[in-house]
């Protein structure tokens, strides 16, 4: 290890350490001692990470309340940034909250972080096309059975036991903080980008099963069978048609792939 390398490692450790100590390479002078000089970097490091993370996790901030700053400090200590973009430091937040005490005993915290992070990553995900209603209308009747409806690649699925989406909505609209509610069975929530706008919403079981099947690449005939398993007799095709139109209007179908003939 070169002397430059070892100096940088010691200085980095001194910046990140909980307790202040100055590496031997640093000296002071009549203007300020070494510890005072180092303190500017130590303070700046924590303040920068805290500020950047706070901006990425509005639902988590709302849920955690006054505990949020200490949560951020604990995360920054446990998971130093390894990405060139400070914004991406939050990538491990949900995983951290799932295993670190005391937050792992409050699973809504990890769910809030997961939702915030999904919204953040959708924001600047790769641009993808979305089909419009005209594209659907142009499909020949005998092509429907084998047709595959491909959702966008950036579509994310979350299984939520708590109403953290209400916390996010309230934070985004500066509304009052909702009450935390938990349910035994998770709700499926999707996060996607329609054009340049990030959207999220919960899915009813039938829609969730159908959209998941489409994402797996199942043909339209299979979607009809799944719909028949959820809808009252005789209503499956009509329900599916309504859902399909809703997906297209929401930018949830990126491409139509014809079946093999």
């Amino acid at each position: 290890m070169s002397s430059l390398q070892s100096m940088q490692l010691r200085l980095q450790q001194a910046v990140m350490a909980a307790a202040a100590s100055s590496p031997p390479e640093l000296v002071g002078d009549g203007i300020a001692d070494a510890k005072t000089r180092l303190a500017i970097y130590r303070h700046g490091y924590r303040a920068r990470l805290r500020e950047a993370l706070a901006g990425e996790f509005p639902a988590l901030a709302s849920l955690a309340g006054r505990r949020f700053p200490s949560l951020l400090d604990r995360y920054a200590e446990a998971c130093p940034s390894e990405h060139y973009n400070l914004r991406w430091h939050g990538a491990g937040m949900a995983a951290f909250l799932r295993y670190a005490l005391p937050w792992r005993e409050r699973p809504a915290f990890a769910e809030a972080a997961e939702l915030d992070w999904a919204i953040s990553t959708c924001f600047d995900a790769a641009d993808e096309p979305a089909i419009d209603a005209e594209a659907l209308a142009a499909i020949a009747p005998d092509a429907w059975a084998g047709l595959r409806l491909a959702p966008p690649q950036h579509l994310q699925w979350l299984a939520l036991h708590s109403n953290v989406d209400a916390f996010r909505s309230a934070a985004d609209s500066a509304a009052s903080r909702p009450h935390l509610r938990r349910r035994a069975q998770p709700r499926q929530l999707i996060v996607w980008r329609q054009g340049l706008t990030v959207r999220y919403r919960a899915l009813e079981p039938m829609e969730s099963a159908l959209l998941a099947a489409a994402a797996r690449g199942e043909p339209f005939a299979t979607l009809c069978e799944i719909a028949a398993g959820h809808a009252p007799p005789g209503q499956a095709v009509a329900r599916l048609a309504v859902l399909l139109r809703g997906w297209v209007d929401a930018g949830l179908i990126g491409a139509l792939q014809p079946g093999e003939t």
Binding site: Q8, V15, P24, G30, I31
Partner: protein, 282 residues
């Protein structure tokens, strides 16, 4: 070795750092702003709104790219993935130039997201020069390096900061982004004469100036970029214009963001200060 474009980039006049708070206002009222500097990393993303805005600005203004994570003085290997994304962005927007800081940002995979100063030693000089050449080969262009505000003093320093900066530029054949505020802040924090600093920087290497504000900490000045350019920095800017001539100048503001019109007015102050000096020297 790949071909490096050694042509001197153009003089752009008086610009601003592009910040989200001013996006729409800048497009609606671009008067008084000759060019824009973007933070490279904010646009090294796959898609979405940041790149849409960037294309709008690209259609209206000359752009330059200014990075914060190159870590040219770091001792980890240069990050190939980072350089590939930086290169892709440069190919996409064709900036007048690409700059970063003469610093290191972390080691062993960690990013401190700060501009950590280097010890001004022969070892560090050799190290930085080799890496600047590597980056310039990769990007096929000369880069600009900015002097950072430094608060640390290293026991084994062998060179003054300006000697180190000049040696890097000459030996690596790169250009310089001289941050006038950083020169002033470091001069106060280390007790040197800022005019001596300017005199030590080679005239032909300086491509861009930054102007910014700072705040007085307990013992040291802190480069906060959250206040208007103060009078001692304006005085140093005047000395810099006299020495370096027509150098593209930019106001850099990152916090306590004022309305755009205040930054444009500050930019006009720079223009009013520099233009008579440049005309007199012509």
């Amino acid at each position: 070795m790949s071909h490096i474009d050694n042509d001197r980039p153009p003089y752009l006049g008086y610009g601003l750092g592009l910040r989200v708070e001013h996006y729409q206002e800048l497009l609606d009222h671009p008067h008084g702003v000759d060019w824009l500097e973007i933070v490279s990393e904010n646009y090294m993303v796959p898609g979405g709104l940041p790149l849409v805005w960037l294309e709008r600005f690209r259609a209206r203004f000359p752009l330059v790219m200014h990075g914060v994570s190159l870590s040219i003085g770091g001792t980890d290997p240069l990050d190939d993935g980072y350089l590939a994304r930086l290169d892709a962005l440069a190919r996409r927007i064709e900036p007048a130039w690409v700059s970063d800081h003469l610093c290191w940002t972390g080691v062993q995979g960690v990013n401190l997201h700060d501009l950590m100063p280097l010890p001004y030693t022969e070892e560090a000089l050799d190290h930085v020069v080799a890496r600047v050449r590597q980056v310039q080969d990769r990007l096929r262009r000369r880069i600009l390096l900015e002097n950072v505000s430094s608060y640390l003093r290293f026991a084994d320093a062998q060179l003054e900061e300006w000697e180190f900066l000049a040696a890097v530029a000459e030996r690596a054949d790169c250009l310089l982004l001289l941050d006038i505020n950083n020169v002033y802040v470091s001069a106060r924090n280390h007790g040197f004469d800022p005019l001596r600093y300017l005199d030590g920087v080679p005239v032909q290497r300086v491509q861009q100036f930054h102007l910014a504000g700072h705040e007085q900490g307990e013992a040291l000045l802190v480069d906060t970029h959250d206040a208007p350019v103060p009078s001692p920095v304006w005085a140093l800017y005047e000395a810099a214009v006299r020495r370096f001539g027509a150098v593209s100048t930019m106001i850099e503001r990152d916090d306590h963001m004022p309305p755009l019109r205040e930054l444009v007015a500050e930019l006009d102050d720079a223009r009013r200060l520099a233009e008579p000096l440049l005309r007199a020297a012509a």
